[in-house]
């Protein structure tokens, strides 16, 4: 789509674009280029010498069992976050869609966690689950279950999944609710007249019609789990107990800024870039087909 009417000026469009181009040039493309460059170089700790090493950094990275483990951790974490986040939000949205009066109240009471910073979400859940003083471990001890995410890797994973899901539910909920309200009521009523109960109607009509929204949310939730949960992890488990909750983004930060291994950190950045590009392509291919009903 193009405009028929345009303004004429040789310098004005450049001036208008200049601020955005300056920011993306200096803070996006230059660093991204540097990451690509550093990923094929070895640098000493003082940055004095650089040596071209080809794909050695990548070879080392994928030979490192802890990096492969970090991939697995990230995969498990994103599947759990996306799975729980989407299903809980769907259940709440389906019920909220049934309510006619008072649904605005439910909606308001369910959307605000979106505003909570991931780091604060991490702190809140850390406090509730702190092994010696937390309220939840205390309750669990009463029923004979010992909770300690500082020692038990599964507990640590459960903690970050809960915090991440809690923060993401409101987002998923809003999109499901919007999707549900876009489904023509006549379809549901026709099915009801034909004798289909609510359960049957949900699985045969509502759920299939929601599939574009569900797929969209799946991609968004995976991106969220991959890239936006760094703060939750850094504020709660810090990748621990050992490295069992160190997802890929946490490792890039840790290896680059704590370990000062710039070559490896840059190679990890390049791997992450490839993942983001793949996810973005999936997301945009889907958006073209989004309008289905």
């Amino acid at each position: 789509m193009e405009k028929r009417v345009r303004f004429r000026s040789t310098w004005l469009p450049w001036a208008l674009l200049a601020p955005q181009l300056a920011v993306i040039g200096v803070f996006f493309f230059w660093p991204a280029g540097q990451a690509l460059l550093q990923s094929v170089q070895i640098q000493d700790a003082f940055g004095a010498t650089r040596e071209f090493v080809g794909l050695d950094n990548f070879r080392q990275l994928f030979a490192d069992q802890t990096y492969i483990d970090s991939f697995k951790t990230t995969a498990i974490f994103s599947v759990l976050v996306a799975g729980f986040g989407i299903s809980i939000a769907l259940v709440l949205a389906v019920f909220a869609d049934r309510v006619l009066r008072g649904s605005a109240v439910y909606k308001t009471l369910l959307v605000w966690p979106y505003a909570v910073a991931p780091a604060v979400a991490g702190v809140l859940w850390l406090f509730m689950f702190a092994p010696s003083i937390g309220i939840v471990p205390y309750a669990l001890r009463l029923i004979g279950y010992e909770w300690n995410h500082l020692l038990n890797a599964d507990h640590a994973m459960a903690l970050i999944v809960m915090a991440a899901v809690w923060k993401q539910i409101s987002y998923n909920f809003l999109f499901f609710l919007a999707g549900l309200q876009g489904i023509p009521k006549s379809l549901i009523e026709a099915a009801a007249i034909d004798g289909a109960g609510p359960w049957r109607r949900f699985w045969t009509i509502v759920f299939p019609l929601l599939s574009p929204v569900t797929f969209f949310l799946l991609v968004i939730n995976i991106v969220y789990a991959f890239f936006e949960t760094f703060a939750i992890i850094d504020a709660s488990t810090q990748g621990g107990p050992g490295k069992e909750t160190a997802i890929l983004v946490y490792r890039v930060y840790y290896d680059g800024f704590k370990g000062l291994d710039l070559g490896s950190s840059a190679a990890q950045s390049v791997v992450l870039m490839a993942i983001v590009i793949a996810l973005t392509v999936v997301q945009f291919r889907y958006i073209e087909k989004k309008v289905q009903y």
Binding site: F7, F27, R101, A115, Y253
Partner: protein, 307 residues
């Protein structure tokens, strides 16, 4: 209308089987209505519980909290705790910088990021839609591609750039690298494309220059999109964590979201949890307030930025 436009209240539904009680349904199922409210109330309670615990913890003394089980009703230390964190304390294992200062840093950063993103995106979209010039499409795609370069994938080199430019521990360092926005540029471009050509034509005939047209016609028409984006970007700016963690080393430049993490230093019982939780409340309030007060624009912004 796009499928994701959230309408509130939901458009009227006329059911041939009648509308009963306070739920909208195509048939009478009182048991299901009860279940509906039970599930929703349970959901609301579970979602609210962490914040309830936070509120309670922020109104007790540190000693009261570390004795398991911690109290579950609010105590009487609220004023003392909040005053203590706002001006800073010397107690506790971790950082004790004044949270009042951190809130100020967060507010300035969030406003700069939100307004900066909106301004430079409006200008870029205006240039791309209303002018013809060499490399126009190339620039549009260059802006678009930044979607695929979140800060997490270029953190080392971006830090180096900011450090070389002497922007560490400054508002410029906290905000400028974050104010490019592919989504906002895309959103305004889409919107400008729907503005009737006749408006620009009329402006030209009346002798108005491009900036006059931008200021007097396009900007007023973009009000709702601007409001929607502002809500989303303010929250985005306020909630930044990884970036401030890299570019600030001085306590007086910590945003509150990051400062709160610095307060947690020791083991479970060594921290002043009452003060940490009071800080958490203070960190949550401004963005939550923005979401609740501007809920309409918030929902619009969320839905539109994902298109």
């Amino acid at each position: 209308m796009a499928p994701h436009c959230v309408r509130y209240p939901p458009r009227g539904r006329v059911s041939i089987l009648g509308r009963t009680g306070d739920t909208d349904m195509v048939e009478r199922r009182p048991a299901l209505t009860v279940l509906t409210h039970l599930v929703l109330i349970l959901g609301v309670l579970i979602v609210a519980f962490p914040v309830y615990v936070t509120v309670v913890a922020s109104t007790h003394t540190a000693q009261a909290i570390v004795q398991a089980p911690m109290p579950l009703v609010p105590g009487d230390q609220m004023l003392q705790n909040y005053m203590a964190v706002l001006v800073g304390t010397d107690a506790g294992a971790g950082s004790a910088a004044p949270v009042g200062r951190m809130m100020f840093v967060s507010l300035v950063s969030a406003l700069t990021i939100a307004l900066g993103k909106i301004t430079i995106s409006l200008l870029s979209a205006f240039a791309i839609v209303y002018f013809r010039f060499p490399f126009r499409n190339f620039f549009f795609w260059a802006i678009f591609v930044t979607l695929m370069l979140p800060v997490e994938v270029r953190i080392g080199p971006t830090y180096e750039v900011v450090s070389d430019l002497g922007m560490l521990n400054s508002y410029a360092g906290l905000t400028v690298p974050l104010i490019a926005s592919a989504t906002a540029t895309f959103l305004f471009r889409q919107f400008f494309l729907t503005v009737p050509d006749e408006l620009a034509e009329a402006a030209r005939i009346d002798g108005a220059g491009p900036m006059r047209f931008f200021w007097d016609v396009l900007l007023p028409l973009s009000r709702t999109s601007i409001a929607a984006l502002f809500v989303i970007q303010f929250i985005y700016g306020w909630n930044q964590y990884l970036w401030p963690l890299l570019v600030t080393t001085q306590e007086n430049m910590y945003p509150v979201v990051m400062g709160i993490k610095r307060m947690i230093a020791g083991g479970d019982a060594a921290n002043d949890w009452n003060l940490i939780m009071a800080t958490a409340m203070l960190a949550m309030l401004p963005p939550a307030f923005v979401v609740l007060l501007m809920q309409k624009w918030f929902v619009k912004g969320l839905v539109e930025t994902e298109k």
